[in-house]
C-alpha cells in the first residue's frame, strides 16, 4: 500500500504546484485585462522606414 502514499504525495505536490501557479498569475494581474494581451500579440512590428 506504500505505493498509494507515494502517489498521493505526488498528486498533492502537482496540485499544490498548480495552486501556486494560479496565485502567482493572479498576483501578476493576468486576469485583470482579458482584452489587451489577446490583441497585442496580433500586432505586427513593421519596419519603420520614415525615421533613422
Amino acid at each position: 500500500m506504500g505505493v498509494i502514499i507515494l502517489l498521493l504525495g505526488a498528486s498533492l505536490t502537482v496540485a499544490l504546484g498548480f495552486l501556486a501557479a494560479f496565485i502567482w498569475s493572479v498576483k501578476h494581474g493576468q486576469f485583470e485585462d482579458d482584452f489587451s494581451p489577446a490583441h497585442r500579440m496580433l500586432f505586427e512590428d513593421k519596419v519603420d522606414n520614415s525615421k533613422d
Binding site: M1, V26, H39, K46, N49
Partner: protein
C-alpha cells in the same frame, strides 16, 4: 413649408461621423473637421497609419478643441507628486485614465506612443480599466508634454480631484485567492473521499482510511479559516446591526459541519469536510462572478470625480496652478472656456455665460456679469472669467448639496429582499425540525440526538437557496449589462421588478444632450444664404445660435462685419452685401406670435423677413414607442429643471395621465419622490446629472443615463447607456422573470433538502449521501438558473432587435 435638409452621408475617415455638407478633403480622404484631419496628418507623418488599418474609422471626434494650456498644471511639482506612482534617476511611472479607449486600434496607437514622443519609453494599456501605464524619461519629456501628446491624438487624460485621494484596490484579489484555495482543497478532499464513498466504513485498510481522514481535516483547515472569511464578516456585520442576513445560516452550516466533522474524525469516522468545502467553493464562485461583472464601473462617485485637480489662481499677475484643497477664500481664480467653477465666488472680470445644466438641469446657460455670484458646479462657456472665491471648495453650494444627500442614505435599508424573507422562514423551519427530531430521539434513543440534529443543520443549509438566488441574480445582471444596463446589485433587480411609478428627468434623459432638432420654415434658403446665416450665428455663444450654426454648417466661414449682439433679443451683422438679423419677432420687426413648440428664431435679410428656425430638444430615438409602452402599465412623471417651453410636446409624448413638472430644483425633485413613496408607490427614477442626484438616491431604484459608460454619472443603483433607454419595458420584464426563476429553483432545492432531511432526521445521513446531495443540488441549480435566465435573456435580445425605430422627433 419646411426646408428638408438632405445630407449625403460622408463619414469622416478619422472618427466615422457624418461630415455634413462640407467634408474637408485630404489625400482622397474626407474629414469632418480640422481636428480629425490634424490627427490624421500627425499619425501619417509618424508612420502610424496602421491605426486606420486595424479598425475602420477608429478615431475620436476632434470637433471640440482642447484649450492650449489646459495641462499647464501638470508642470507643478506638488500636483505631479499626487499622480506619479514611481520615480527613480531617469524614469517616471504614471497611470492615466483615458476614457476614450475603445478598440484594438487605440491599444496599438497608445502602445506606440514612443514613436510620437521621444521621451516615452513604454506604454502598457489596461483595456478593461481604460488606463495606460506610461513610463517616460523625465529628462527628455515632461508629464505635461505627455498629456498634451495624448490629447493631440484624441486621448485626453481625465485627471480629476479624485486622483488626489488614496486609491482603493479595484479588484478584490483576495477573493480570487480564497476561491483558488477553496477549489484546491475541495478537489483534493473529494479525491481522498472516494474510497470512503465506495466502501463505506468497511474499508479494506483501516490505517489508510485513518490517514485519508486526517488529510481531509488538514485540507479543510485553510477553507475554514481563510476562504470562508468573507461569509463570517458579512454575517457578523449583519448580526451587529441586528438583522439576520442570508450569510448567517451559511456560517451556521459551515460551523456545525466543521465541528461535527472534527468530532467524527476524533471518533475514527470520516467527517463532512467534502460538503463543507463544497459549499464554500460554490458560494465563492458566485461572489467572484458578481465582482467580475462590475470591474470598471463605479457607482459611488462624488463631486471629486467631476472636479478638476487644479485651477489657475492669479497671484501678483501670474497664473499659478493650484490644487483645489489649497484654494482659500479671497483667491482670484481664472476660469477658462469649458471649465468647471470649483468654488462659489463673485465674478471680478469678464462676462460669464454659465451652464448650470450639471447642477440644475436647465439647458440654457445663464448670463452673469461682474459683481454677481456664481456657484460651484457651473461650467463657463465663452471667454475667460476671473472670480473671487467667497467659499472654499469643501464649503461650496455643490459640495453641501452632496453632503445633504448623504444624510438620506439610510432610507434604503428597509427594502428586504424576498429571498431574505424566504431564507428566514427556512431557517426557522429547519430549527423547528431539529427541535422536534431531538425531542423524538430523546424519547426513543438518546444516543442518536447528536448525529441527527447536526445532520439536519448540515443538510438543510440554505446554500442551495442562496446559490439559486445569487446565480440567477448574477446571471440576470450579466444579461442586463450585455444590453448596457448596469445595475449595482441584486436588490436593484427586485426593486426594478416592483416598480409602480416611473419618474423621468427631461434634459439629458429623454432628450439627448447634444441632440437638438433644428428646422427652417419659410422660403427655401440657397446654400450661400444658409452658410452666411451660419457664419453670423457662429459669432454668438448663445445656445440657439450654436444650434443654428451647427445646422447650417460652419465650414467656409464668411467674414462678418459690424456684428452686434442684443442681449435677450437677437444678433445682426453684415456679410458681403447682406444685412442679416436673427432673433425674436420684435427684433426682426414683425408682430407674429409663435405657435410653435420650443424656441423660435426669426431671420430677416436686408430687413425683409424670410422665415424662422425652430429649435427643439431632440428626443432620443425610440423614446416615443418606449413611452407608449410603459404608460399603459405604470404611472409616469417628468421632473424637469428646464422651463415650460417643451410642455406641449412632452404632454403628447407622456400621455394625458402623466404628471409634468417644470423648473424643478434638486430639492423639489427629491421631495416629489418622497411624496410618491409616502403614497406607497415604488419609484423608479431615471435621470442624469447632479440635479437628479438626490432624487436618484431617494427613489427605490435610481438609474442614471450616460452617453457612454465612461461618462461620469451621479451615485445611483444603475447606469444605463442612453441609446438603450428604449428597451426599458423589456428590462423590467426580465427583472420580473428573475423572481420566478428564483422561486422555481428554490422549490427544486427544497426537494433536495427534503430528501436529505429524510435521512438526517433518522440519524442516517452518511457522508456519501451528503457528498452526493450537496454538489448535485448545487450544480443542478446552477444549470437550471443559468438556462432559465438565458432563455429570458433571449427574449430580451429579440425585443432589442425588433424595437420599433421611430424618428428623432415627435
Amino acid at each position: 413649408m419646411a426646408n428638408t435638409h438632405t445630407h449625403t452621408h460622408v463619414a469622416c475617415f478619422h472618427c466615422g461621423e457624418d461630415c455634413n455638407d462640407h467634408p474637408i478633403m485630404m489625400a482622397e480622404k474626407s474629414f469632418c473637421c480640422e481636428g480629425c484631419k490634424l490627427v490624421y496628418e500627425l499619425l501619417h507623418q509618424h508612420n502610424l497609419c496602421e491605426y486606420y488599418d486595424l479598425n475602420a474609422k477608429p478615431g475620436i471626434n476632434q470637433r471640440i478643441v482642447v484649450r492650449q494650456d489646459k495641462f499647464a498644471f501638470l508642470d507643478d511639482e506638488k500636483i505631479q507628486q499626487h499622480l506619479i506612482q514611481f520615480r527613480d534617476e531617469d524614469q517616471i511611472h504614471i497611470t492615466l485614465y483615458l476614457p476614450q479607449i475603445h478598440c484594438s486600434s487605440c491599444l496599438w496607437l497608445l502602445e506606440n506612443l514612443h514613436k510620437l514622443e521621444t521621451g516615452v519609453q513604454r506604454v502598457t494599456v489596461n483595456f478593461t480599466r481604460k488606463e495606460a501605464k506610461i513610463i517616460y524619461n523625465y529628462r527628455e519629456t515632461t508629464l505635461r508634454r505627455v498629456a498634451e501628446v495624448l490629447t493631440s491624438i484624441g486621448y485626453e487624460p481625465y485627471i480629476s480631484l479624485n486622483d488626489m485621494k488614496e486609491k482603493k484596490p479595484r479588484v478584490q484579489r483576495k477573493l480570487v485567492y480564497q476561491l483558488g484555495v477553496a477549489g484546491f482543497c475541495f478537489g483534493n478532499i473529494m479525491l481522498l473521499s472516494f474510497p470512503e464513498y465506495f466502501t463505506g466504513n468497511n474499508h479494506s485498510d483501516a490505517s489508510m482510511n485513518r490517514m485519508f481522514q486526517y488529510m481531509n481535516l488538514v485540507l479543510a483547515l485553510p477553507v475554514f479559516f481563510y476562504s470562508a472569511q468573507a461569509f463570517y464578516k458579512s454575517a457578523w456585520s449583519g448580526l451587529k446591526h441586528g438583522f439576520l442576513n442570508i450569510d448567517v445560516p451559511i456560517v451556521l452550516a459551515i460551523l456545525v459541519t466543521f465541528i461535527r466533522s472534527l468530532a467524527e474524525v476524533a471518533a475514527g469516522h470520516s467527517g463532512y469536510f467534502d460538503s463543507m468545502t463544497g459549499i464554500v467553493f460554490f458560494m465563492l464562485i458566485g461572489r467572484v462572478l458578481q465582482e467580475k461583472t462590475y470591474q470598471g464601473l463605479s457607482f459611488d462617485r462624488d463631486y471629486t470625480s467631476y472636479f478638476p485637480i487644479a485651477v489657475s489662481v492669479i497671484k501678483d499677475g501670474n497664473e499659478v496652478p493650484t490644487t483645489l484643497p489649497d484654494i482659500k477664500t479671497n483667491d482670484t481664480l481664472l476660469i477658462h472656456h469649458q471649465e468647471l467653477i470649483p468654488a462659489d465666488g463673485i465674478i471680478s472680470r469678464g462676462s460669464a455665460l454659465i451652464d448650470y445644466s450639471f447642477v440644475t438641469g436647465e439647458a440654457a446657460p445663464v448670463k452673469k456679469s461682474v459683481g454677481e455670484i456664481v456657484y460651484a458646479g457651473g461650467r463657463q462657456v465663452g471667454g475667460n472669467i476671473e472670480i473671487l472665491t467667497i467659499k472654499e471648495v469643501a464649503q461650496s453650494y455643490l459640495t453641501s448639496l452632496w453632503n445633504r444627500d448623504e444624510l438620506k442614505d439610510s432610507g434604503k435599508q428597509t427594502n428586504v429582499s424576498f429571498v431574505h424573507l424566504l431564507s428566514q422562514y427556512f431557517t426557522w423551519v429547519v430549527l423547528l425540525i431539529a427541535v422536534i427530531t431531538a425531542a423524538v430521539w430523546t424519547v426513543k434513543d438518546p444516543s442518536r440526538i447528536w448525529p441527527s440534529v447536526t445532520a439536519i443543520l448540515i443538510i438543510a443549509c440554505p446554500c442551495a437557496l442562496l446559490l439559486a438566488s445569487s446565480f440567477t441574480n448574477g446571471h440576470i445582471l450579466r444579461i442586463l449589462s450585455r444590453h448596457k444596463l448596469y445595475l449595482r446589485n441584486a436588490q436593484s433587480i427586485e426593486n426594478l421588478a416592483n416598480t409602480t411609478h416611473i419618474v423621468f428627468d427631461k434634459t439629458g434623459t429623454l432628450t439627448g444632450k447634444a441632440g437638438t432638432e433644428v428646422r427652417f420654415f419659410g422660403d427655401p434658403l440657397t446654400p450661400t444664404q444658409e452658410m452666411k446665416i451660419g457664419s453670423l450665428a457662429a459669432q454668438s455663444l448663445h445656445p440657439l445660435s450654436a444650434a443654428i450654426s451647427n445646422y447650417c454648417g460652419v465650414a467656409n466661414n464668411y467674414a462678418v462685419r459690424d456684428f452686434r449682439e442684443f442681449e435677450g433679443k437677437g444678433i445682426c451683422g453684415w456679410i458681403d452685401d447682406l444685412f442679416i438679423r436673427m432673433g425674436s419677432a420684435e427684433f426682426i420687426g414683425i408682430k407674429q406670435k409663435t405657435a410653435q413648440d420650443g424656441s423660435t428664431v426669426f431671420i430677416s435679410i436686408n430687413e425683409k423677413p424670410i422665415g424662422l428656425f425652430t429649435i427643439r430638444n431632440g428626443y432620443r430615438p425610440g423614446i416615443r414607442s418606449m413611452l407608449e409602452h410603459v404608460r399603459d402599465h405604470y404611472d409616469l412623471s417628468v421632473l424637469s429643471g428646464d422651463n415650460t417651453r417643451e410642455a406641449g410636446s412632452l404632454r403628447i409624448l407622456m400621455g394625458a395621465n402623466a404628471t409634468l413638472r417644470f423648473e424643478q430644483k434638486p430639492a423639489d425633485k427629491l421631495d416629489y419622490i418622497i411624496k410618491l413613496q409616502g403614497k406607497g408607490e415604488k419609484v423608479l427614477m431615471i435621470g442624469d446629472g447632479l440635479n437628479d442626484a438626490g432624487a436618484l438616491k431617494q427613489s427605490d431604484t435610481g438609474i442614471s443615463v450616460a452617453e457612454s459608460t465612461n461618462n461620469f454619472t451621479p451615485a445611483s443603483d444603475g447606469i444605463i447607456e442612453a441609446e438603450q433607454l428604449k428597451l426599458l419595458p423589456s428590462f423590467i420584464r426580465l427583472c420580473k422573470s428573475n423572481r420566478h426563476i428564483v422561486i422555481i429553483s428554490f422549490l427544486m432545492s427544497l426537494a433536495y433538502n427534503i430528501t436529505g432531511l429524510y435521512f438526517a432526521v433518522q440519524g442516517m445521513l452518511s457522508p456519501l449521501i451528503a457528498a452526493i446531495l450537496m454538489p448535485a443540488s448545487s450544480i443542478s441549480i446552477i444549470l437550471l438558473t443559468y438556462s432559465m435566465s438565458e432563455l429570458s435573456g433571449r427574449r430580451l435580445a429579440a425585443s432589442a432587435t425588433t424595437a420599433i425605430p421611430d424618428k428623432n422627433h415627435v
